[in-house]
């Protein structure tokens, strides 16, 4: 283990996304605020309440989760992929940084960005819906665990990808559809069969519902189920990424 090396890489990764705040912080805030305005205010009028919660409050946890997922994922995937393209990944591969050092640094930075953008989205939403949080502990657990999971997936995808096209494959065809169909804008109970049953196979649903429980105190599925699903994905992503870094998959020939 190399604590100074790990801290240095973490610092560098955080500097990297703070250096372009318009792209890494402001852009997701604008996007999620637009979702909030369009779905919450413009279209929310026709859906007054879901599970006893006003629609505008109902979509806030989903929007925050969307921001955490996208930002944690993008932080590791873009950083690692750019390092591969630019050749600077050699600096890390030749340095005395172990697998644990690399993972801890990359994932902590991804979680920081996810939580930072998630918090900003929450602050923007709270101006309209109020600043109350039902269970802060659950909020932190879900936000952090989802940040870790998607940070890990982002890293794994960037290590695997040889082209930009491959890098965009998973976010475009897997993560975005699953997120939009994962109960961000609606409750599963609103869907007809078989869609409501099919939606139960979407892991992101449990992450969104977990955060919803933390923020609003009510959700379509119990937080423990969400914790088990999210924890399972985090472990799978961790095992995959650890294996990639430890064996040098696509990094060391």
């Amino acid at each position: 283990m190399n604590p100074i090396g790990r801290r240095t890489l973490l610092k560098k990764e955080i500097h990297r996304f703070l250096r372009v705040p318009g792209q890494t912080l402001a852009q997701p805030v604008v996007t999620t605020s637009l979702y909030f305005l369009v779905f919450g205010f413009a279209l929310g009028g026709s859906v007054r309440e879901i599970d006893g919660v006003s629609y505008i409050r109902f979509i806030v946890p989903g929007l925050i989760m969307l921001a955490i997922i996208q930002n944690a994922f993008l932080n590791t995937s873009s950083s690692m992929f750019m390092m591969k393209v630019q050749g600077t990944v050699v600096d890390l591969l030749v340095a005395p940084l172990g697998t644990a050092d690399l993972l801890i640094a990359f994932i902590t930075a991804a979680v920081c960005r996810g939580l930072l953008v998630g918090s900003i989205v929450w602050l923007v939403a709270a101006v309209f819906t109020g600043f109350s949080i039902a269970h802060l502990g659950w909020v932190l657990v879900f936000a952090t665990l989802v940040g870790i999971t998607f940070g890990l997936f982002g890293l794994a995808l960037a290590i695997w990808s040889d082209k930009f096209e491959q890098l965009n494959l998973i976010p475009t065809f897997v993560i975005t559809p699953l997120t939009f169909l994962g109960g961000v804008f609606y409750s599963v109970s609103m869907l007809p069969k078989p869609w409501s049953t099919l939606t139960l196979a979407n892991p992101i649903l449990y992450m969104v519902e977990g955060l919803r429980y933390g923020l609003l105190g009510t959700a379509g599925s119990p937080p423990l189920v969400g914790l088990i699903v999210t924890g399972g994905f985090a472990i799978a992503a961790f095992a995959l990424t650890w294996w990639m870094l430890a064996t040098g998959y696509k990094l060391r020939s």
């Binding site: 240095t8 610092k11 050749g87 030749v94 172990g98």
Partner: protein, 304 residues
């Protein structure tokens, strides 16, 4: 004293090519060691294995007694690598990049050391500009700064002066000598044979993944190099060379105007007399001293 770098029967097989075929080398501490070979000979593969970027198919590699496969972090702590391809991070300045580099090697921030390296590589006035704004030569110097800032005991320079102008090349050579004077071991690959001749204590020639020669430049020149004299004639020779000239090893090129004669001191007067006796006038004559280039071309069968 343990070797700075030691490899034993190092091999690397890719699905379609065998890049290294059992290369055993021992590089002593404080040496400037040059690896020569045509493109694709296996030089970069060898360096990549020693630096941990590539895994060997078989054999061992050690850096100051640390096995690169069994104790990779201990081995990597000892070395610095200047890769062949220029790379830079457009987000950061040279000073920031060097700070990170120190940190990666587990060292605390050391602005004095960073300033020293920036100054030595004439990057001091560019220390705080974005790496994007550096010229090609500056980016290459930044690569060298990155490889040196943590004071590695062994430095690998993979084609360090490719595309670098003559002045900068000379400056880098001077800096390499300064490093060696401070006890650093330098391993370099180069296409500039002049570079190896000028700098290296020992030269290894690799071809087709095999070590084909290893010696001091002077010994290589003595064993494989040759002095020769080249004549340009005013008109082509339209018949076979006289027997005496053929016996001296003189050859004539396709145009019939260029004669090449391997030279031993005692032959010179005989050669001159015989060539002067030819019907065509001599319009030019020059002698060629033995060079590493000649040695290299002889050993690799003319592939450069």
């Amino acid at each position: 004293m343990p070797a700075a770098v030691e490899t034993e029967e190092l091999t690397k097989r890719y699905p379609k090519v065998e890049a290294l075929r059992g290369v055993s080398l021992r590089i002593e501490q404080g040496e400037i060691f040059a690896l020569l070979g045509p493109n694709g000979a296996g030089k970069t593969t060898w360096i990549s294995i020693v630096c941990g970027l590539t895994r060997a198919s078989s054999g061992h590699a050690r850096v100051l007694e640390h096995d690169v496969a069994r104790a990779p972090l201990d081995a990597r702590r000892q070395l610095g690598l200047v890769p062949q391809e220029i790379n830079f991070d457009p987000f950061f300045t040279p000073r920031e990049v060097l700070r990170f580099q120190l940190g990666y090697y587990g060292l605390p921030p050391d602005e004095a050391r960073i300033d020293e390296v920036l100054f030595a590589l004439t990057l001091a006035d560019k220390a705080d500009v974005n790496a994007r704004e550096l010229s090609g030569g500056m980016k290459r110097r930044l690569l060298i700064a990155k490889a040196l800032v943590h004071r590695p005991r062994v430095v690998f320079l993979d084609e360090p002066t490719a595309g670098v102008d003559v002045t900068l090349r000379r400056e880098l050579w001077a800096y390499v000598r300064t490093l060696r004077a401070g006890g650093t071991t330098i391993v370099l690959t180069t296409h500039y044979l002049e570079e190896a001749e000028e700098l290296a204590d020992r030269v290894a020639v690799i071809d087709h993944g095999r070590l084909i020669s290893l010696d001091r430049p002077s010994a290589l020149l003595a064993s494989h190099g040759r002095r020769q004299v080249l004549f340009t004639l005013g008109a082509p020779i339209d018949r076979a060379l006289p027997e005496k000239l053929a016996a001296l090893g003189v050859t004539v090129d396709a145009s019939g105007t260029q004669l090449t004669c391997p030279l031993r001191a005692s032959d010179l007067s005989t050669v001159l007399a015989e060539v002067a006796a030819l019907p065509a006038p001599i319009v030019d004559m020059r002698t060629e001293q033995p060079s590493l280039e000649q040695v290299f071309l002889t050993l690799t069968g003319g592939r450069a």
